[in-house]
Assembly symmetry: C2
Homo-oligomer: 268 residues x 2
């Protein structure tokens, strides 16, 4: 799987999110200009998934990470509506349950890895168990490094076993987060989305960015690359990601499976 | 949840599938006349699911049963494409695995019951573990009756715990199955869908119909009704089912949840 994208993080690149644009629109001037592209991509994804599901030769794991309000839910609903739900699952990783906490940090992620033929989307992921504990100093820097090594080994094992892995960091500015939270405050219909916990986490913005810089710099091998997607403009975020997905699936050149019976011999 | 539908099976109705039309189109004259309705229903379902997912007050379990080629997969892709995959899962029940066989017959179904806020679609279901063993005389009539009682108790417990259950039997004629299999034989692209097992099962058509008559007659209580959907015409099958789903979800009159924080007190 070879993907050309201006948003690809090369293996061992020294990533500084502060130097990366959150508002880039890849040359597109307006949402209107991009709208037709998303419609086309959605149709292409639906067709590509059809073969992907039938052929059962590869699995696709999509990881979505980003600050609160970065658009993880929106990405899923905008890009993957149109896809056959039979071939696509979404796993949301929240604060670990008591049972999950009693396991190694990769246990719950491993359980949700797609089987061949399926596309699974991780809404947050195993990276959350490195991020949040490090930001709040629940784990030391040494443990963080060890967990990132563990993740690299884990993803490498998955890749060896036919799992394609594409990881997206949805990159918004702090100002954009402020705007999005404010719009939730201004819109009574959206008040239920507000939580004390999210508002609290926001205070740790610089620490999160530091931790992401580390993650993106050390866990983007060729077989499980990160993409840093400028996400201040939702419409550009959507087509930036859908472009990568279409290209990735097309590059597999998958075919419908061979028949198991000799159709010419069947008499109904 | 009160649903009016000509396809509803009333509790303890004496169902004879042979007396029910497989080709009815509910007064619609053509596919073209119905196409706009499906588009409208898909949009409505997407909006209704949005609130359903957010409110987390009810779960929705959709059971799809029918002969091979009856259109279970097609129903899922036509009606549920457009829905946010984050709020919708599909569970396919195949021949039980060795582990599943070591459990009671409801174990694997129970594990896939949706939590509140989710819509889960059973592509085949716990009914398969009554049907197929009875048709092939692996279980006695007495065991079949006991299993149907077990299912009634199980579904009643689920309904008591906020799970809405809607069950659809996709009703095709044997001639229509012949046509659909023939079209798979004629189309090289579809040969991979043919299996010896399916062709073998087809010989037991009358026994399956008998077993379904029993199932439909005894397991259609108000809280978990069956609908027998005329399914020879795929386009009518789709709108017959989407009509019921839209009506069911609308009747819940769900609202977005109440906020957990006082938005007016937040300073960003």
């Amino acid at each position: 799987m070879k993907i050309k994208s201006p948003h690809l993080i090369k293996p061992n690149a020294h990533v500084r999110l502060s130097k990366k644009s959150t508002s880039d629109t890849g040359g597109y001037k307006s949402e209107e200009a991009a709208a037709a592209i998303l419609v086309k991509h959605r149709k292409q994804l639906a067709d590509l998934q059809d073969v992907f599901y039938a052929s059962q030769t590869k699995a696709l794991l999509i990881v979505l990470q980003g600050m609160d309000t970065a658009g993880k839910d929106g990405t899923i609903s905008h890009i993957f509506s149109g896809i056959n739900p039979q071939g696509c699952d979404v796993a949301s990783f929240k604060v670990p349950t008591p049972l999950e906490s009693r396991h190694d940090f990769l246990w719950r992620a491993h359980a949700q890895v797609p089987p061949r033929g399926m596309i699974n989307i991780f809404n947050r992921s195993h990276y959350e168990d490195v991020l949040s504990p490090r930001v709040h100093k629940i784990i030391t820097d040494k443990v963080m490094r060890r967990r990132l090594d563990d993740i690299n080994e884990f993803e490498s094992m998955l890749a060896d076993n036919d799992v394609l892995i594409l990881k997206f960091y949805l990159h918004i500015s702090r100002d954009e987060q402020t705007r999005r939270l404010q719009s939730r405050i201004d819109d009574k219909q959206k008040h239920w989305k507000l939580s004390e916990a999210d508002l609290h986490e926001r205070k740790f913005w610089p620490q999160y960015i530091d931790a992401y810089d580390r993650i993106l710099s050390t866990t983007s091998p060729k077989h499980a690359p990160w993409f840093v997607i400028p996400a201040d403009h939702k419409w550009y975020r959507n087509i930036a990601i859908s472009t990568i997905l279409v290209e990735a699936l097309q590059s597999l050149k998958l075919k419908f499976p061979n028949p198991t019976v000799d159709a010419s011999a069947i008499k109904l």
